[in-house]
Symmetry: C2
Subunit: 196 residues, 2 copies
């Protein structure tokens, strides 16, 4: 079983999230969605912003790398006009429903809206539209996501991420092993098969 730890604001999470479902299915490995917030994890490392903004050389490389990777994997790509975007609302929805089968389609649709269509995925109207596009009732899903029972799940995931030593996104966690970066999917899957 692979836990896939991701953030909707993260470009490399996009590349990995679009592939993990098919890769795990082909490998016969179970997959769990683990949305979390990068903000508190960057703050722990002393950063008040994405390191891609804080370090211009690092940022310039990442944007070119994303052009290449999205071309390589045939993914929609439009450099977002705002980076990183606020993502708390869609992350809260994903965390509230991470065990539901429809969560996979919701996750991919939010990522495509951010990095393929340059949409403000933190806005309520956009999240509602995406929920409807995956066959859910937006009002009901948002109400549940913000209910006292489920509202805290995103924060709980983020605290677990900190405990796991996560320092960026995406990550795959297999047992005690942490694999960081979109390029580690295959290694994580091989590790999960070895553990079986």
């Amino acid at each position: 079983m692979i836990e896939f730890w991701f953030e909707f604001a993260s470009t490399y999470s996009y590349v990995a999230a679009m592939q993990i479902e098919a890769k795990c299915r082909n490998a016969g490995v179970a997959r769990a969605w683990r949305p979390f917030s990068l903000g508190p994890i960057f703050a722990l490392q002393g950063w008040g912003d994405s390191h891609f903004n804080l370090n211009p050389r690092r940022g310039a490389y990442m944007w070119r790398d994303l052009e290449r990777l999205t071309e390589k994997f045939g993914l929609p790509w439009q450099r977002p006009s705002r980076f990183p975007r606020p993502t708390t609302l869609p992350l809260r929805v994903a965390a509230a429903f991470e065990d539901e089968p429809w969560c996979a389609g919701f996750v991919r649709a939010v990522f495509v809206a951010n990095f393929g269509e340059d949409r403000e995925i933190g806005e309520r109207a956009v999240v509602a539209e995406i929920l409807a596009s995956v066959g859910q009732s937006p009002d009901e899903a948002l109400r549940l996501a913000e209910s006292p029972e489920r509202r805290g799940r995103l924060r709980a995931n983020t605290e677990r991420a900190i405990g796991l030593g996560i320092m960026g996104a995406p990550n795959c966690v297999v047992g005690d092993e942490l694999f960081w970066g979109e390029e580690t999917l295959d290694d994580a899957i091989a590790w999960a098969q070895r553990e079986d």
Copy 2:
């Protein structure tokens, strides 16, 4: 043609350097060694040390990742008792002889001494022994590497690395494209084949 930009102090450069020769040969792509110093490039980003030391979470992940990667690729591994090590002398030798066929064996032997045998690769006696092990006269090679004609080649490489936007190691450069990280070797080789 791929330029392989590396630093002997860099753990991920080790993983890539041990593989690039065979990968390029199998792909029919030419390869050039480009040793450079990471110190000035880290300084440009405001770091006085490796970010693996400055950021303990990042460092802990890297050391575990290196155990996994060296096991995966069957490479000797012993976590160095000093990190990063001074590397100016072996880098200067590699830069002075980067076009010589024996440079490939020298590069690999220096990396194995650092990361497989925990040796002080910055010391003159160690570099001399490695030069002898690849069939060179240590005195002659060191004299040439430190001669006025060749001594500046390492600094010239480092300045070119800065101009290329390099911010860590290893990197592959193919035309105007920069590929950073040990996991990008295959993408860089595919790019070089496309350019042909």
